[in-house]
Amino acid sequence: MASILRVDDINVYYGSIHAIKGISFEVNEGEIVTLIGANGAGKSTTLNTISGLLHSRTGSVTFMGETLGKVPCHKIVSKGLALVPEGRRVFLQMTVQENLEMGAYTQSSKAIDQDLEHVYELFPRLKERMKQVAGTLSGGEQQMLAMGRALMSHPKLLMLDEPSMGLAPILVEQIFEIIQNLHKAGTTILLVEQNAAAALSVADRGYVLETGKIVTSGTGKELLASPAIKKAYLGG
């Protein structure tokens, strides 16, 4: 399997706070890989660094053979790498449709209508609310919008930062189903989750982060079965 993303010994700082302490991992084409870890472990920092919102002081990020170190954030999405950020961060004062159009900012305008149709098929609720301002959507609908918006850029690798945060169990199930469907349709997925049980059960492989370091890794099944992981992240 070809590696689509390689993170090599990155160190990320917030001022003098050393948030990521030399982590390395890989995502292969066609996989679902998950990063799990407690609050403050550095999961979001890792995803934000890969997407160019933050920069690592040392180490490198390689996406489809290209080193991203010097590439500005706004040029990364057109390479096929999209992030659904923590807390959704949809544009609250813009309509659902406008949010999706922003997701297609780097795409040629001809294909947009078709892509909109595709996203509306995946998330029929968004279609009903396409003229509505995103600030008036429910949390779950905003999450769907954030995902749909990222899909508009035709990502090869889709990174999701806690897509289940704050959602009712039924919606969480729905979101995970959609993630699996996207995966089946050929999108590689890097998933960050607090909900370790759900994430590990859909993931091919997982990495466990603790205070800025990777402490364990393995296949989803292995990690699910590991007593240490059970104790720390799966509630016994």
């Binding site: 961060r89 609250l92 406008e98 900012y105 949390g139």
Partner: protein
């Protein structure tokens, strides 16, 4: 009839405030900074068009285009040199820099054009070559509206409509709104935030040039401090209407002009500014976000 004529002069003055306020509000909305040098760009626009008409003998419309071009470049340069390096600095540092840029522009103008006021050749003088008045006469001449007032009001409406269409319909305009909400998320969409901010300054400064030409055409004394007071008034208008809101700047500008004209006519010329700011304070007490400003609830 008297009342109508005061009202029209208020709307005309308010139109100039509104054009300036639109620039203020766009820059604030996207760069989240108060560009206190915005008023001085008006003054630069005034001088450039003055030189174009008086020294180069260019027609008014060409002088206007030249002033817009120079101010657009000036806006981009100011942003790139003075504000861009401070993108992640505390807002107080940016504010102080903006005040510095304002003084820099005023003093540079003082060096080049000296302190003595210039008499600005209006785009449409009050009387034409035959000595007839350049004004629209209504009600058997009881109400007279100068052509320059009409031009000012028309420009303001056209600009307002154009900006509204631009931000709601075009890709660039929508990208600006995305940047104004969340620069990080905008970058994740592939939007070049620096280029967007730069474009915003360009548009705001071009508007300031138009405002400068219209302002000086109605009030023909041009000096290095010409932009200060209208700049502050327009800032007030932008806050009045709800800073960051385009219709808010339009409404705020018009209301401010009308209140000022009425206060001058019926209360006292000296108290006019006091009254304008008193109204602002009352409005902000009742509606802290301004007339059309709104808080959008955030969902967790």
């Amino acid at each position: 009839m008297e009342f109508l004529s005061y009202l029209i002069s208020g709307i005309s003055l308010g139109s100039v405030y509104a054009i300036i306020a639109l620039g203020y509000t766009m820059v604030y909305g996207i760069a989240k900074m108060l560009n206190f040098a915005h008023g001085d760009v008006i003054m630069v626009g005034g001088y450039i068009s003055f030189c174009a008409i008086s020294y180069l003998g260019l027609p008014g419309w060409l002088a206007l285009i030249l002033a817009m071009a120079v101010c657009t470049v000036l806006g981009i340069v100011i942003e790139g040199l003075a504000y861009k390096p401070l993108r992640s600095a505390p807002s107080l540092a940016v504010l102080i820099t903006a005040i510095g840029v304002s003084y820099f522009l005023q003093n540079t103008a003082l060096l080049i054009w000296k302190a003595a006021p210039k008499v600005y050749p209006s785009l449409i003088p009050t009387t034409n070559a035959q000595g007839e008045s350049n004004a629209l006469q209504l009600f058997n001449g009881q109400l007279s509206i100068s052509y320059i007032s009409l031009l000012t009001m028309a420009s303001c409406i056209v600009i307002m409509i154009a900006l509204t269409l631009f931000t709601s319909k075009t890709k660039m305009g929508k990208a600006m709104r995305a940047c104004s909400e969340d620069k990080g998320a905008a970058q994740l969409m592939g939007i070049n935030v620096n280029a967007t901010i730069s474009t915003t300054f360009a548009i705001g400064s071009a508007l300031a040039a138009i405002a400068g030409v219209l302002l000086c055409s109605s009030y023909p004394t041009l000096q290095p401090t010409t932009g200060s007071m209208p700049g502050i008034k327009a800032f007030t208008a932008a806050v009045f209407g709800g800073i960051g809101s385009i219709p808010g700047a339009f409404l705020g500008g018009l209301l401010l002009g009308i209140i000022e004209a009425m206060a001058k006519a019926y209360i006292s010329t000296n108290l006019a500014n006091t009254i304008v700011f008193a109204v602002l304070i009352v409005v902000l007490l009742v509606k802290p976000a301004g007339l059309l400003g709104k808080y959008v609830p955030e969902k967790v």
